[in-house]
């Protein structure tokens, strides 16, 4: 006991010596890496943290696959600025504090050359702030909540989908309002997950439909811990709305859809964010017979006729034995955007120059051409999909559609 409490002066001396030694080591480490671009024999390390465990592990795993296919593709084509790309991936456990610690460690301890973003607005919000503080370009495959782009950041975040969350339902709303008067819904119910991504999507739809005079008969936000949707579905059933809008991520979207079926309610028009874009996982969860006519916003489809998409899909299927999920494609596109900026500038020394390059240029990706406002918010139109005959089809805009028809009234509701 005496040793632990006694001789404070000696302890201080030891502490000072250790601090000096640590400072010297850090200085030596920094001094040995003057040229950030490195030589071509050194790999180009790209650091990122993903929710590989926890609540968002579903998109996290898909994003990891997309990033891995991107890195492989780049390396097969000779690398980035002649250097082989090496991914440094950490698991943030779907936690906001961990994701910040991860990005700080990637930048300050692992000394990565470049960064790529994580998944969900919830995690990209703090992660992009960590990148900004460390003056690193931040390109994110998810994170479309409008508040992410309202912070006057210089180094990003550049969101590599077609539109921010508040514009993801635009084409769907336009289609609803263009329906003939006898088909146009007169009442609508909203059930929204309390999440920075889903809320703005539904807020924008609600504003449009309110203005058009479609009566709002049910409007509730549910927390992320909600597991039981039977009573919500039953309350909606009692209002008998023509249209139901569900702002969902994934598991909640499946649970909500199953509960609608359980209580025996089928709206004429049904729109969900995210969940229906998960392909077979969605149809397996809710039953393929219950998918017909469901609308959803989506950024990518394996059938899209965009440059490099067929090669990406082939490569993905060879590597993982299944078609890429939307989140995997978004991650691949984020890699493409980062690659375009680095190759456009020709160096990674000045990361602000990389960000400015993205502000001034459009990038061809497997999602189509992407361009951004100064804030990093993309300027484009999100695709609208609809489940038809057990397949997720793109129905809007017309020039990207994979199906000629749009189901205006779901057959189960007739």
């Amino acid at each position: 006991m005496r040793g632990s409490k006694g001789h404070p002066g000696r302890s201080r001396l030891w502490f000072a010596a250790l601090a000096l030694a640590a400072t010297a080591l850090i200085a030596a480490g920094c001094g040995g890496d003057d040229d950030d671009s490195g030589d071509s024999s050194e790999p180009m390390t790209v650091g990122l943290s993903l929710p590989l465990t926890g609540e968002f592990s579903q998109p996290g795993k898909a994003a990891k696959q997309g990033y891995e296919v991107w890195a492989e593709t780049v390396n097969e084509e000779g690398g980035l600025l002649g250097r082989q790309v090496e991914l440094e991936i950490k698991d943030d456990g779907s936690d906001q504090n961990t994701v910040v610690a991860d990005y700080n460690a990637l930048i300050q301890k692992d000394d990565v050359d470049l960064l790529l973003g994580t998944f969900s607005s919830l995690l990209n919000l703090p992660a992009s702030a960590a990148a900004e503080r460390n003056r690193m370009l931040y390109v994110e495959p998810a994170g479309g909540a409008p508040e992410i782009f309202e912070r006057d950041f210089q180094y990003g975040p550049f969101f590599t989908q077609q539109a921010t969350a508040d514009h993801q339902g635009d084409l769907f709303a336009e289609w609803v309002l263009a329906l003939p008067a006898n088909e146009r819904p007169k009442t609508v119910a909203y059930a929204v997950l309390d999440d920075p991504f889903t809320v703005p999507v539904v807020d924008a739809l609600r504003a449009t439909f309110d203005e058009a005079g479609i009566e709002n008969v049910y409007d509730e936000t549910y927390p992320v811990s909600t597991s039981n949707f039977d009573s919500i579905a039953n309350s909606i059933k009692s209002e008998n709305p023509d249209m139901v809008i569900n702002g969902s991520q994934f598991e909640d979207g499946i649970g909500f859809r199953r509960s609608l079926t359980k209580v025996g309610f089928e709206p004429k028009i049904f729109f969900q964010t995210n969940a229906p874009s998960f392909g077979e996982q969605y149809s397996d969860g809710v039953g393929v017979e219950n998918t017909e006519g469901t609308f959803f916003a989506i950024s990518h489809t394996p059938d899209a006729d965009t440059p490099g998409n067929a090669e990406f899909v082939d490569k993905f299927e060879q590597k993982f034995g299944e078609p890429p999920a939307e989140d995997a494609a978004d991650a691949y596109a984020a890699g493409q955007v980062l690659q375009a900026a680095v190759e456009g500038v020709g160096s990674i020394d000045d990361q602000l120059a990389l960000a400015d390059w993205l502000r001034e240029n459009s990038v061809e990706t497997i999602l189509g051409p992407l361009e951004w406002e100064d804030t990093g918010a993309p300027i484009g139109e999100f695709l609208i999909g609809q489940w038809q005959n057990g397949t997720a089809e793109i129905v809007l805009p017309e020039d990207a559609a994979t199906s000629d028809e749009i189901i205006a009234v779901r057959p189960q509701a007739e």
Binding site: F56, S57, G60, T221, S227, V263, N290
Partner: protein, 293 residues
């Protein structure tokens, strides 16, 4: 009135299933004073087992209890022997840390075996309901609640009508006293942990058909199940049943009459109020600290 009856029916059906989810955790705490943070992860593991039995062999998820419960019993015994037992006399914080670590390990193992994909079993009745003059009773929820009541009844009979069960209750009430009258505490502890996990096996079969799940889903469940046993009184099986019913009803009444946004918050307010007046929970026993150890 119909709305109230409907909400009450939903609440009781949910509560019945929650009661089974929580019974194993409270049983283990009662005897061993171990808060098993891995309870949620083991619940999801059992759900994956039930899903696989349904997906690969067409076995009904609720019927799969005959396999998942014994399988989890064996796993429980093995876990006790290798991990929990050696820390039986360690401070509570050590076992909390250990079981939290186990939860992370099980989550990773599930991810390796089944991937991070969401699963949900769909037997023929999964999206059907009984309609009793406008009162909707989802079939899967009704069947699950019936099975939960049966399993809980069996557990009650085991604890109250068998010598082994009485030994478990004796160890729960007073470990030293039970040892003095010849109860083998180490063996009873192992058995309790295994029986606790067998109930998790049965509960996991229900999760597989009632809720979509993936390896990371356990965080939501451990939070909910811990709330139930704190509300009911740590270590009390009757308390867990009562706490589960109250929590289920509170969730649904809040969704129906207040706001869905508050549905998971209001039950915690309920817990706060109950603990304010009864710190030992609804059915917990208050002991003098100097004799409780």
């Amino acid at each position: 009135m119909t709305e109230f009856i409907q909400a009450t029916a939903f609440g009781l059906l949910i509560g019945g299933v929650y009661a089974l989810f929580a019974s194993g955790l409270t049983l283990i705490f009662g005897v061993m004073k171990v808060i098993n943070i891995a309870h949620g992860a083991l619940l999801i593991l059992a759900a994956f087992l039930a899903f696989t039995l349904w997906d690969q062999f067409g076995l009904d998820p609720l019927a799969s209890i005959v396999i998942t419960a014994p399988a989890m019993f064996v796993l429980g015994w093995a876990l006790y022997v290798t991990a929990i037992g050696p820390l039986r006399s360690a401070p509570l914080s050590s076992t909390v840390l250990l079981t939290f670590g186990l939860a992370l390990v099980f989550e990773a193992v599930m991810g390796l075996i089944w991937g991070n994909n969401s699963r949900a079993a769909r037997p023929s009745y999964f999206d059907q309901s009984f309609d009793l003059s406008g009162i909707i009773l989802p079939k899967a929820q009704v069947y699950a609640a019936i099975v939960a009541v049966l399993v809980l009844a069996l557990l009650w009979l085991f604890l109250n009508r068998t010598w082994t069960g009485r030994a478990i209750r004796a160890a729960s009430a007073n470990m030293q006293g039970a040892a003095l009258v010849g109860v083998n505490i180490a063996r009873v502890s192992a058995l309790t942990f295994a029986v606790g996990l067998a109930t998790v096996g049965a509960a996991g079969s229900m999760v597989s058909v009632l809720y979509p799940f993936l390896p990371g889903s356990h965080y939501i469940w451990i939070a909910r199940v811990l709330s139930i046993i704190v509300l009911g009184g740590l270590g009390s099986l009757q308390g867990a049943v009562l706490g589960a019913m109250l929590l289920g009803l509170a969730e649904v009444y809040t969704q129906t009459y207040i706001s869905t946004e508050w549905a998971t918050a209001v039950p915690y307010v309920l817990i706060f109020v109950v603990l304010f007046f009864r710190p030992q929970g609804l059915m917990g026993t208050r002991l003098r600290e100097d004799v409780a150890v």
